[in-house]
Symmetry: C2
DNA sequence: TATTGTTATACTCTATAACTATA
DNA sequence: TATAGTTATAGAGTATAACAATA
């Protein structure tokens, strides 16, 4: 079972690499004389570059964190558990915008890998408190470092002040739009 | 069959509304005393707000363009056809990052709705040149206006200069990262 | 009666292999 | 042989309904 998940992550990373290469090739052919199609006005609608940037960032994140076999979604769960101990499944899932039924299988994977554990709440025996294990904390610590390299490369591309501005605008859109 | 697609778009729009309301409720409870979970360091990784912003923008786009029953992906196809006449399926799909096998069903939908048409190329009888129909141009024209309102609301939120900077950074990430 | 975790299920997206008809 | 469009298929992601245990 752990192998299935490992394969899923590896395959996602492999696909990410393929897409990157295809894009790189496009840029090269644009430089020469092969005539790529024009996005035109489409590139002026925020949704188009936003979606493409999101795919690119997730691709790169996946590749950077591949040694630890963590998807962006799994990383976000571990980060949230670390920061918010003593919370139940519903609270964690809801904060991340994951529907409760879909969070079950996600937690099954993380728990089967020994990264977190479900514990019956003493107060409310319906609830499962989700806790990070020592292994989970260790893996998260290493994941943070790999993800930090990914972020550093982005900062290199945009510049530190621009990256901060980007982060602020994206957060504003996510919470206020 | 057209009904199936219409339902799919309607349902996506309905879900978008639900998510917006849930998020609005969260903000309200944050304001009062219900104690939402802390994203913490997670919010400092670009991927997290980027993904949430992308979902929000697509939600809003879907709602704004709902009268015309167009998804962001369908809109992008029509925009590309309008700007790049005489291209075949492979070229259009590749430019949008859509895999050729997946583009077949997508075009089937647009063609069955009378928005575009496949024409055998005279030069290379393997190719299908994809053309916008008059109806397709008409629908696209109206879609552009609805989408422009959506964009205007975003500009209102961020400010015109900031929105331009955001667009530039997202495009840079999509093409250079 | 309402809520938590869960199962079952379905629909969309995305990805690969392989076929056909052309080149 | 190679390419364009297509089919079949499989895997993620995301959505809803309903059930058991508990409140």
């Amino acid at each position: 079972m752990a192998d299935l998940k490992a394969m899923a992550v590896s395959r996602a990373a492999a696909n990410a690499v393929k897409r990157s290469r295809a894009a790189a090739k496009d840029l090269a052919t644009d430089g020469s004389g092969e005539a790529g199609l024009q996005p035109g006005e489409l590139a002026e609608f925020i949704g188009y570059p936003l979606k493409r940037a999101q795919l690119r960032i997730f691709e790169d994140f996946l590749r950077c964190v591949a040694p630890l076999q963590l998807t962006p979604a799994q990383f976000s769960v571990l980060m949230l558990l670390d920061r918010n101990p003593g919370r139940n499944q519903t609270e964690i899932a809801h904060t991340l915008g994951i529907l409760r039924p879909n969070f079950v299988a996600m937690l099954d994977v993380l728990e089967s890998r020994g990264l977190c554990a479900r514990m019956r709440s003493a107060n409310d025996r319906r609830s499962h408190i989700v806790v990070l294990t020592d292994k989970g904390r260790s893996v998260l610590s290493r994941a943070r470092k790999l993800a930090a390299k990914h972020e550093a490369r982005l900062t290199e591309l945009l510049g530190s002040a621009n990256r901060a501005a980007l982060l602020a605008m994206l957060s504003k859109i996510a919470t206020e739009f």
